[in-house]
Amino acid sequence: MSSDIRFTDFKSDAQPTWCPGCGDFGTMNGMMKALANTGNDPDNTFVVAGIGCSGKIGTYMHSYALHGVHGRALPVGIGVKMANPNLEVMVAGGDGDGYSIGAGHFVHAVRRNVDMSYVVMDNRIYGLTKGQFSPTSREDFETSTSPEGTKQQPVNPLALALSAGGTFIAQSFSSDAQRHAEIVQQAIEHDGFGFVNVYSPCVTFNDVDTYDYFRDTIVDLEDTDHDSTDYDDAKEKILDADKEYQGVIYQDENSVGFEEREGITESMADIPDGAPDDAMDLVREFY
């Protein structure tokens, strides 16, 4: 780990195929800045991504990375971190990947509280399959598969995280580059599961949750007297359906990562050339 790491060291030479203007560019840049700012380098960083536009992120970044199957990025990230707690593990996903097919894993990853960060690019639509509603789409949102609106409530990912015992719950806006990078950095620095829901607009299929919409409505918690260590204050903000907040909404300062609580401090990669020296004791247990 060296101090002269710049965020561009996390950039690969692959050309992104995201649509021009996609919110994911800003989301990714913030992730790279946050990784560099926290003193990580590409060789000790592992980025896991799922499926969808967000899933492409591992290709555009330079680090150890895995692009897995739909909705299962979190378990992969947990496995990586458990097997080598010295790595910086960051999982990236979209609202479909994380709150639809992967919703079960999301809740359990939150309560398991492994020391990693999870950045969700929430554009409230399915982009790569060309414009169907997502779990965070509004109830009246008209798409190719919801011509008369979705007729169902959007999921509130922050509330899910809070109810599952989340220890770090934050939200950012990909176009507010400075604040977004800061918030992701705080998620990385948090000891435990650092969850950031990022408003990352889809310029092609979502004409409701646009850059302008977020710019006009977002309230930065830094400009309020919000106390992120106050659970009730956090709950109130999270359940406030009329506002879009940016910032760290809740943080448990006493959080300790699961792998540390399980006593894992070293990489599991090194093993002896043969069976352990005391292996015959395992056999003798069966006398």
Binding site: V69, G79, A83, N84, H108
Partner: protein, 589 residues
Amino acid sequence: MPDDLNWAIGGEAGDGIDSTGKIFAQALSRAGRHVFTSKDFASRIRGGYTAYKVRTAVDRVESVVDRLDILIALTERTVDENMDELHDDSVIIFDGERTMMSDFEAPGEMTGLDVPLKRLAEEAGGAIVRNIVALGAACEVAGFPIENLDEALEKRFGDKGSAIVDTNKQAARLGQEYVQDEYDLTTDYELETTDNDYVLLNGDEAIGMGAIAAGCRFYSGYPITPATDVMEYLTGRVDRYGGKVVQAEDELSAINMALGAARAGARSMTATSGPGIDLMTETFGLIAQTETPLVICDVMRSGPSTGMPTKQEQGDLNMTLYGGHGEIPRFVLAPTSVAECFHKTIEAFNLAEKYQTPVFLVSDLAMAVTEQTYEPEQFDMDAVEIERGRVVDEDDVEEWTNEKDQFTPHAATDDGVSPRTFPGVEGGAHMTTGLEHDELGRRTEEEEIRVEQVDKRQRKVETALEREDWSPREFGDSDSDNLVISWGSNEGAMLEAIDFLEEEGVDVRFLSCPYIFPREALAEEIREADEVIVVECNATGQWADVLEHDALERVKRINKYTGVRFKADELAERVKQELAGETAEVEAE
């Protein structure tokens, strides 16, 4: 007098049947006798018939037979359930003072020993030791020195203090003395003891022990019968070596966590049974496509769907051979005995890392719940070799980087095996993906690269075919034209069946297959033999289908799908019938 004895205790789940059976099995094992156990149980915690059976002899015992000599019946239903296996010389121990057994009379010529188990237990110190009273009575019937029980009781109850141990010892003696005083036994079983030291373990435990011996450091799984014992064995034990077991939220998560740990460099495994394998199937392709070494263990039970969770079957062969969309290079290993569960687990880890593929370790319920005695040397830890394959560290990472200093995790080598860096290795950072990719791991749809990568991955399998020993285990008369082939856990029953057949003048050559892949050599064997019979515990003959396809020749089939494993004498009879050209009726149990 018979030294090969079949003993059972049966009653309701929750009656302590398992622990009593295990104590007896351990006592026999410590007395230098071989033991082979089996269980009848239902998928419920309390109530319902359950039994623990122990077959014991001084010589090795490899299977169950259709005979029961001594039965401790805590309920009358226990007698009904086992009526087919009881014979005129059988002895039934029961408690006539219990309401449910008060009218009981031993059927036919059998000897019924009415022992007031509860009353004697209370005399010894508490009704809870009722089963131990019965065990003492059984020792008397079996001609097994009761002192041998003491050690097993100490092992079992030592943690609870000497008073508990003494109560149990006393209970056993009261049971023994009651039979001595009240009955003039006409049976004369006599269980000899020896100085041999054996260990007693089941297939799931052997898999867990093999995993630790092989350097497994990460296990994630979801509880499911009959694979859970693997997870329970590893929990706590793998920690001693710096590893960890994680109980995941579901099987999808379990296999993906194991995949993540494997990418981070840990030897990694998951185990499940049929319904769990279905869920994991999604990730099979990802493992193969990302070239991640992973051991996936399927301890089969009766399917389909939730089927019969506590019953035996070998129904998942097709699933492990073909499961997953697209074409997935893989290896499938099927241990043929409890000891082979240990050895094949170690081999599975080596194959997975040498060839960077998924390796399926296919066991089944019969081995999972069977406890068997072995000489400890069978689990020779000094002989364990760890082969990690083409792992690249800081020093030689450059050899595998391109002109732009990019590491090539999917380099198209001659043997198909690519270099592998663990995260943290400087200069080795790379992308890996389930998408088709180039040597760098980057997505591509270019025809040429697609073909190159598919060929590369397939080449690993061809390399393994040349470099590894895939021989089946051969038994019986090597000159015989009658060839019997089976896979997985049928080996023990077939080994004893060979002896039965020999007595009747029928010779067979037996190939027991722990490798379901590759199988060219087997096809050759089939073409050369006169009669070929494929034995398997399923209805459709999945292995027979594969072999017919390979050999382009028809084979005979013996299938059993009642939920109960083959018994040696039953199997001998069916082999005889097949060779004689008679079609055996499938017996429903």
